[in-house]
């Protein structure tokens, strides 16, 4: 993987993107501003499941009328996020916060998958229930917590505190970041 990313980071488009005066900031700004749409609408879906907001709105209406906006903005997040990764793949691959973010993204993804596959299938039976079934509330809570920490870890990726190039680091940091260290 490391070697592949070294090659990827040396492709002309990757270098051009990282060094570009306007494109990189515009891609990164799009990623940040779309956060307000993507996480913003996801939060209200979760709030509904938890019973914290939109209580008079049937769950099925929130998932059919708000989630399309969440999905569309996720596509923007994914494209801009992948472009940012492509601009400096080796740095992000060995960045501890990036790795934490990826693990949390997998958790959020699995949670959304099981929510739609298992729980949401029977939404007609509990559309107006108060409080909602435990499984639905749990899915909302997991989603809310996961996305909050994804936003935080995503922001911290920008810092090089735990980068492999800055040593010494605690052994667990080097282990998480999979640092290739020169022998003393």
């Amino acid at each position: 993987m490391h070697d592949f990313l070294v090659w990827l980071g040396e492709t002309p488009w990757s270098i051009a993107l990282l060094e570009s005066y306007w494109v990189w900031p515009l891609v990164e700004s799009t990623h940040v501003l779309t956060l307000g749409v993507f996480v913003g609408t996801a939060i209200f879906n979760d709030f509904r499941l938890l019973g914290w907001s939109l209580k008079s709105v049937p769950v099925s209406q929130v998932t059919s009328r708000i989630l399309p906006w969440t999905r569309a903005s996720f596509a923007v997040m994914a494209v801009t996020g992948l472009l940012i990764f492509y601009s400096d793949p080796v740095r992000y691959y060995h960045n501890m916060f990036f790795r934490i973010k990826v693990v949390l993204l997998v958790i959020a993804g699995l949670n959304a998958f099981f929510f739609h596959r298992r729980i949401h299938r029977s939404v007609a039976e509990w559309d107006h229930m108060d409080p909602l079934p435990g499984a639905a509330r749990r899915a909302g809570a997991i989603s809310l917590a996961a996305w909050a920490f994804i936003v935080i870890s995503g922001r911290l990726v920008a810092y090089n505190w735990f980068d492999c190039s800055i040593q010494p680091q605690p052994a667990w940091v080097n282990w998480i970041s999979d640092c290739v260290l020169a022998l003393p």
């Binding site: 940040v32 501003l33 307000g36 993507f38 996480v39 913003g40 939060i43 929130v62 708000i66 936003v151």
Partner: protein
């Protein structure tokens, strides 16, 4: 004219403490972004409806009522973390054009949201030309505030 004030802020106890801390800026900035998500959501739930999109099965006033306390909470969180971010680098911000764009559009957006938009959403049921104009203006104003905010770091 304001420069002495900005310089003074940098010398205050909280200003120097924030400027010297390695972690504080990053952590406050992260919470500021969580606040951005919450603010974006609580605005959009209603703004989409004002445009005739989103939760069209509910009256506008009802959605606005649901979203209002989260909107107020998000604004308070944003102002609190934003003020701390400002206190940690006032002189750098004084010379930053994006900061001035943000700091002048922010009061306009706040005033618009809690006067014109609030009054309209409290009484509205269905989307009309007036609600569409207000929804579009709300989105545009907050977009400028957020975009200028992000651009502070690039300019």
């Amino acid at each position: 004219m304001l420069l002495p004030f900005f310089e003074w802020i940098e010398t205050t106890a909280i200003g120097t403490a924030l400027a010297q801390s390695i972690w504080s800026f990053a952590v406050i900035e992260s919470v500021h972004l969580v606040g951005l998500s919450l603010l974006g959501g609580s605005l959009l739930i209603v703004d989409l409806r004002l445009l005739g999109l989103g939760l069209t099965g509910q009256p506008i006033a009802e959605l606005a009522r649901h979203a209002h306390r989260w909107l107020v909470g998000a604004v308070i969180l944003m102002l609190a973390t934003g003020t701390l971010l400002f206190l940690s680098e006032p002189i750098k911000l004084y010379y930053n054009t994006s900061f001035w764009v943000k700091i002048t559009t922010l009061p306009i957006a706040l005033l618009f949201t809690f006067t014109v938009r609030r009054r309209l959403t409290r009484g509205a049921t269905e989307a009309t030309t007036a609600t569409r104009v207000v929804g579009a203006l709300s989105m545009a104003l907050w977009f400028v505030v957020a975009a200028a905010g992000r651009w502070i770091g690039f300019s």
